[in-house]
Symmetry: C2
Amino acid sequence: MARKVRIKDVAERAGVSVASVSFVLNNVEGARVAPETRERIKAAARELGYQPNTVARGLRTQRTHMIGFISDEIATTPFAGQMIQGAHDAAHKVGYLLLMLNTGGDVEEQHLAARALVQRQIDGAIVATMYHQRIEIPEELAGIPHVALDAEPVSGAVSSVVPDEFGGAVAVVSELITAGHRRIGHITDRDWPIAKGLRLDAYRHCLLSNDLPAGDSLVAADEPSSHGGYRAAQVLLNAANPPTAIFCYNDRMAMGAYRAAAEHGLRIPQDLSIAGYDDQQLISDAIAPGLTTAALPHYDMGVWAVETLLHQITSTAPVVPQRHLMPCPLIRRHSIAPPRG
Amino acid sequence: MARKVRIKDVAERAGVSVASVSFVLNNVEGARVAPETRERIKAAARELGYQPNTVARGLRTQRTHMIGFISDEIATTPFAGQMIQGAHDAAHKVGYLLLMLNTGGDVEEQHLAARALVQRQIDGAIVATMYHQRIEIPEELAGIPHVALDAEPVSGAVSSVVPDEFGGAVAVVSELITAGHRRIGHITDRDWPIAKGLRLDAYRHCLLSNDLPAGDSLVAADEPSSHGGYRAAQVLLNAANPPTAIFCYNDRMAMGAYRAAAEHGLRIPQDLSIAGYDDQQLISDAIAPGLTTAALPHYDMGVWAVETLLHQITSTAPVVPQRHLMPCPLIRRHSIAPPRG
DNA sequence: TTGAAAGCGCTAACAA
DNA sequence: TTGTTAGCGCTTTCAA
C-alpha cells in the first residue's frame, strides 16, 4: 500500500510551504494566498488523495471532533439503537463521531469510562440511560461539556432530555375517553421506575378531570412483561364490574392483556379496547389488531442531546442548562373502539 | 477547574525528566530507573492525578487504541445492541474503544465512514451488518486490519464471522423429529436473504435424511413478519393433510403462526408444535407458551470479531483470514410436544 | 503573498 | 541510571 500522504507531501508537490497548504485546505479566514497558488495546492491535494490526520490536528487544536457516549446498557433494550442512531446522525452531520462506552450500570465503570474519554480529549459527552431515570454525572466530566439523555441528573447544572411520559399518557387515556369509555382500567408496573409514576398519575388525572371512576379495583400491578400484563389483566377482567378499556403501562403488558382478553372470549377492540405505551414495534405492530400506543421518542432525544451538546461545545456563551421534555406522539392503530351498547 | 496536568508537571514535581516519567508510567521493558526514583514518580503522578493524553500518545506511537465500527443500520434491529455490546466488551477489556459509524446501508456513506475512520487513525475496523449478508469492504480500509461481522465479504482475504444458520436449523428440526413428528411444515421468507436459504436447506436436509415427506405442500412463503407468519401458517393449516409441527423461519413468523393455530382451535404444543429461529426474546419469551427456537449468537460474534481484529493488530505474523461459523444454540421452551395419537 | 518555526503532549533513541 | 532531544502531523504566529 502507498504510504500515507502528509501535508508535507502536498506542500512539496505544489511547491509551497505546509503553512500555505494548511491555510487553503482549511479555508482560513483572511489568509491571503494567490488564487493561482490556491488552485495548485488544491490540485496537489486532490492528486495525492490527501486526507488530513485528525489526531495530529486534534493535538494541535485541542478539538478532536469526537463525542463520548456513555450508556448504562445497550444490549438488553431495543430502544438503544434508536437513541444511538439519533445521536449518531446529529453528530455525523457536522463531522463529529461517537466514541461509545458502556458501563453495564456499574458506578465504578462509569468513572473509568469518563476518565477514558477525557484522556481521549473528547469535545463533549452524552450520559445516556436506557430507561428514564435519575443519574449521577461522573465528576471526571466536570471539565467538559456534557448532557444527560433519557435521564435526569440528580444534581448539577446540566442539560437533559427525557420523554414527556405524563403528556403521552394523557393522550392515550384521552383517546380512550374520546372513544366513549367510562370504565377504564390501568395495568401498571409493580416496581417504581419514573415512567410508571408519571403514566399512572396521568391516568388518574384524566379520569378525575372527566368525572370518571378511578377506584383501586381498576388498577392492577404486576411485572412489566407480557406475563405480568396477562396476570394483571386477568385481575381486572375477573372483577365484578370489569373495565371496557385498559390502558397498559407498556406494550409488553398490553401483549399479555390481549391474551387474557382472548381467554375471556373478548374481541379487541369490539369487546375490549386496549392501549399501550412505548411503541415497541416488534410488538405493537405485530400483534393483531395493531396496538394504539404512545411512542417513546428515542431518536429525537438522541438528536436533541447531541445538538444541545454541540451548541455548548461551539458557543462561548455561558451555558444555561435546559431540561427538555420530548413529546411522546400517539400512534393510532386498531385496538380502540367505542364500548359496546 | 484545575488545568490539565501534563507529563511535564509530573516530571517537575518528581524532580526528574519527562523521559523517566514516561518510562516508569508505561512500565517500559528494560528501562533502568532506580526503585527510589520510580516511587517518587508514581507518587507525583498519583498526587497530581495525572492521566496521559491519549491523543498525543497516539500521534507519537501511531496507535490510537480505537477500533472503528461501521454498521449498516442500528436503529431498526434489536440485534444491534448485542453485537455492539460484544464488540465493546472485548475491546474494552484490553483498553480499546469503539468509534461508531452508521451508514444506513448506503455505499457512498460507507466510503465516507471508512475515510473518516482512517483519518482518525483507528487501529482497525469492524464492518458489521445487522443481517447475515454479503458485503463489499470499502477500499479505504485496505491499509488497516479489518474484519467482517455477521457478513461475508464478496472478495478479499478478510476474516469474517457469521451465524451457523444451517447447523441451528438442523438442531431445531431435529428437535421436532425427536419429539416424534413426521409431517413437519416450514414457513419461510419469500425474499432471498442468506439465512432463508440456509434454514430452508437444513429443513429439507433433515426431512430427507429421515425419510420424511417434504413436498411443496409443506412449505409456505410470505413476508418475514408476524402477519406473514399468520398467513403462511393458515395456508399450511388449511391444507388437506396439515403438518403436526411447523418450523418457522423466524420468531416473528412464529408469533403469527401462534395466532393462526388459535383460530384453528389448535393448542400449542398439544395439538401443534411450533419452533422458531432468532430467539428475539421480546417475542420468544413473551408469547405463551414460550417458543423453542435457535438463538442468533450476536454477542459472541461481536466478541469474536474484535478479538480476531485485535490479534491482527498486535501480531506481526501475516494474517491468514478465517471464516468463522458461530453456533446457534437451541433454546428449549414449551412450544414442542409429541404429536397427538 | 508566502515561508519558517514553535509547539500541542507524548515516546524513544541517544548521550551523558 | 537519568536527561536531552527529535520527531509524530498539524495549525498558527511571526517574520520576510
